[in-house]
Amino acid sequence: MKKSKAIKKAARKAAPAPDPVAKLDVAEGVEGMKQAIGIMTDPAAALAQRKAALNALQGASFGHPNFKEIRGEYVAGLRQVVDDAPQELLQDALEILSQEQDPYAEKKLVDGLRDDKKALVKPEDALHYLSYNLHAGVQGVVRNVFEQSKDDRVRQQAVRLMSSDPQAVKLIERTLKDKKESAEVRQTSAAALHALNPQALQKWAEKTALDKNENQEILAACLTAINQFGDEKTISKNTAFRKRISQMSKNAPPRLKQIAKGLSTKYGI
C-alpha cells in the first residue's frame, strides 16, 4: 500500500512529456466509446493511451451522434480519473468536469484551496478550473487565496476571478496601485477593475499616464483602456493628460508611442 502511494506521488510529480495523439485502437460508435472510457480510467494503461482516449471522447462530445448515449459514463469516468490518475491526465479531467460545472470536481478544487494537503493541482490551476462556474460560495475562497498567497501566478489568477466579485473592488484597486506588485498582477487588476468599476479605472489610468516613473507595461495597459473605453468628455477637459499623450506620441518607446498616436487620433489631441 505504501509503495503504491509512493508510486502515485512520483507519477504526479514527474508527469511525462505530453503525447495526446497516441493511436487509439478501439471500435467506432458506442462500443468504441465504452472501450475508450475503459482505457481512460485504467491505471494500468499507458498514460499516452489514456490521454488519447480522453481527447477522442472529448472530441466526440462536439457532435458525434452517439455521444449522448455514453455521456453519463464519460462524466463518471472523468471523476474516476480525478481520483486516480497522473497529474497530466487529472488536470484534463478536472478542467473538462469544471466546464461541465460538475459539483464533484468543484468540491475537490475548493477543498484543495482550503487545505494544501487535499490539493490535487496547483492553486493557480484550481482557480482557473473554478472560473468555469464562479458563484458566491467560491468567491470568498478566491479572495482568501489572493490575500494569503505570495505566488504571482496564483495572485494573477485570483485577480482574474475576482473581476466579477463586487466585494473585491477595493482589494483590486489597492493591488493595481501597488508598484511592488508584479506587472502581470497589476495588468490583470486593471482589467478586473475595469470590469467592476470602469470609472475608477479611467480615473486611475488618466493619473497614471502622467507618472513618468510608472512601469511601461502598466502605462500601456492604462492607455489601452482609455483608447478602448475612455470617456471623450472627460478626456477633452484633462489638459495635463492631453499634453502627456502629445509628448508620448512624439517621444516614447515604440509600443507606447504607437498607442499614444492612436489616442491622439481618437481624441483629436
Binding site: G59, A60, S61, Q99, E100, H128, S131, L134, R160, A190
Partner: protein, 418 residues
C-alpha cells in the same frame, strides 16, 4: 457629363464591398451636359488603390468577366445595370477604384466622368493577413466584446450546452455554423467594414497566429500572453477576464489528431458522408479534435465561444465545406447529395431545409431551448439581402450565388473561387 455608380445597387458607402460573386451594380447620368443623343457610351475600368485587389466587369452575372466594360447610359438619368466581382483580394479599404470614362466626340480622348472606390473583401488564412489587417481584426473583436458588455456576449451565449442540439450532432451542423459565423462577421463589419473573418487552417503550421501580438501565446491555465497594449487585455466573458488557451501540440507544426484537408475532402461526395467531419471518433477530424487540441475553454461546447479563436476554427470548418461544395458542385438543394437526405421535413426541428434556425428565429417552443434566445435576429448586410433576419437551413448552401445571384450571402474564401 457626370455619372453616379452604385455598387450592390446601393448608394451606401457600407455597400462598397465585393467578393468573388457577381455583385449587381448600376450607373446613371447625373449631369447630361455634352451628351448629344439619347444615350452615351461609357467605359468602365479599374485603377489600383493602396489596398490592392482587382475586379472584373460583365453585362450579365455569368462567365469570367473582363477588365473593362462598355455600356450605354441614358441621358435622361435612367440606370444601366452591370455586374462586378472580385478577381484578387484587397488587404485594405479601399483597394480598387471603378473609373467611368467617355469620349465627348469620337476623336476625343477618354475623359473621366465618375468613379467609386471599393474593396474586394475576402476571408483569408489568419496567418496571411498583413499587420494592418490583423490590427483591424483584433480591434474589431475587442470592441465587439467591449469587456463583456458588447454584442459578443450574445454569440458566446448562443453556443452553450442547452442549445447544442440546434447546432451539433444533426445535419444542420454545417449550415447553422455558417449562419453563426456570418452573423458575427457582419457585427465585426459594423465596427470595421474592411474586416472579413479569417480562418485557422488547423492542418497547417500556424505559429504566427499564436503570438503575443495576435491571438496570444499559451500560458498554461493563465490568460494567454499578450503584448502590452493589446486590445484583448480587457477581454471578458461570463465572470472572468482574459483568454485562456494552451495548445496541446507544438505550434510550429500541426496536431496529428486533426484530419488534413485532403483527407477531409475525401470523406465522400455526398453530404451524408461529408458531414461526418463533425466528429469521426475514434479517428482524427478537423472539428472536434481541433477543439480538443487545446486546453482551455475552447475544448468544450459550453465554453468554446469564450475564445475568439473559436470563430477562426469554425471559419476553417466552413471553408472546408465550401471547398467540398465546389469540388462536388453541391449548391443546389434539389440535389439529394447537397444536403442529407434533402426532404423538407423529417429531421429534428431546426435541421430540415425549410426550418428557420435558432436563435435568430426567437423560438422558445420545445425542443428549442426554453430560455430567451440571445442576440435577436441575424445582422443584415448592406451588400446582400440573404439570408434575411431569420435564416433557414436551405439558405446556407448557394452562398456565392452560383445558382442564383440573389442567394449570395456576401462572403468568399481566398482559396475557393466562384
Amino acid at each position: 457629363m457626370n455619372v453616379d455608380i452604385q455598387v450592390n445597387n446601393s448608394a451606401s458607402l457600407t455597400a462598397r464591398y465585393l467578393t468573388w460573386a457577381w455583385s449587381p451594380c448600376r450607373v446613371r447620368v447625373t449631369n447630361p451636359t455634352g451628351i448629344t443623343g439619347p444615350t452615351a457610351s461609357v467605359q468602365l475600368s479599374q485603377a489600383a488603390l493602396g489596398g490592392a485587389g482587382s475586379i472584373r466587369f460583365s453585362a450579365t452575372p455569368t462567365g469570367a468577366g473582363a477588365a473593362t466594360l462598355t455600356v450605354n447610359v441614358a441621358a435622361g438619368g435612367a440606370s444601366t445595370p452591370f455586374f462586378v466581382r472580385g478577381l484578387t483580394a484587397s488587404n485594405a479599404d479601399p483597394g480598387v477604384r471603378i473609373l467611368t470614362r467617355w469620349r465627348p466626340t469620337p476623336a476625343a480622348a477618354l475623359t473621366q466622368v465618375g468613379s467609386v472606390d471599393l474593396m474586394v473583401r475576402i476571408r483569408k488564412s489568419a496567418i496571411s493577413l498583413n499587420t494592418g489587417e490583423r490590427t483591424r481584426l483584433i480591434n474589431a473583436f475587442a470592441q465587439l466584446n467591449n469587456q463583456g458588455m458588447g454584442r459578443f456576449a450574445d454569440f458566446r451565449a448562443a453556443h452553450v450546452f442547452e442549445s447544442q442540439d440546434e447546432a451539433h450532432g444533426f445535419p444542420a451542423f454545417l449550415p447553422w455554423h455558417r449562419a453563426y459565423i456570418l452573423d458575427l462577421e457582419r457585427e465585426l463589419q459594423i465596427i470595421e467594414p474592411s474586416v472579413a473573418l479569417p480562418y485557422w487552417r488547423c492542418d497547417q503550421a500556424a505559429a504566427a497566429l499564436f503570438t503575443p501580438s495576435y491571438f496570444g501565446r499559451g500560458n498554461n491555465t493563465s490568460s494567454v500572453i499578450l503584448d502590452p497594449g493589446h486590445p484583448f487585455l480587457f477581454w471578458k466573458t461570463d465572470n472572468d477576464v482574459g483568454i485562456v488557451r494552451q495548445p496541446g501540440f507544438n505550434i510550429n507544426g500541426v496536431s496529428p489528431q486533426v484530419l488534413s484537408q485532403a483527407l477531409t475532402l475525401a470523406l465522400g461526395p455526398s453530404f451524408a458522408q461529408f458531414r461526418t467531419l463533425e466528429s469521426k471518433f475514434p479517428n482524427p477530424d478537423p472539428h472536434g479534435m481541433a477543439h480538443t487540441s487545446f486546453a482551455g475553454p475552447i475544448r468544450a461546447i459550453r465554453t468554446a465561444a469564450k475564445d475568439p479563436l473559436f470563430f477562426l476554427l469554425h471559419c476553417n470548418v466552413d471553408r472546408l465545406w465550401a471547398v467540398w461544395q465546389r469540388q462536388n458542385g453541391r449548391y443546389n438543394i434539389a440535389d439529394g447529395d447537397t444536403y442529407q437526405p434533402a426532404p423538407l421535413a423529417g429531421h429534428r426541428i431546426g435541421h430540415n431545409l425549410g426550418d428557420t434556425m435558432w436563435p435568430w428565429n426567437g423560438n422558445v417552443t420545445f425542443p428549442r431551448p426554453s430560455s430567451p434566445p440571445p442576440g435577436g435576429t441575424m445582422a443584415p448586410s448592406p451588400c446582400v439581402e440573404k439570408p434575411g433576419l431569420q435564416p433557414q437551413v436551405q439558405q446556407c448552401f448557394d452562398y456565392q450565388g452560383t445558382i442564383n445571384i440573389a442567394n449570395n450571402l456576401g462572403f468568399s474564401y481566398d482559396d475557393v473561387p466562384l
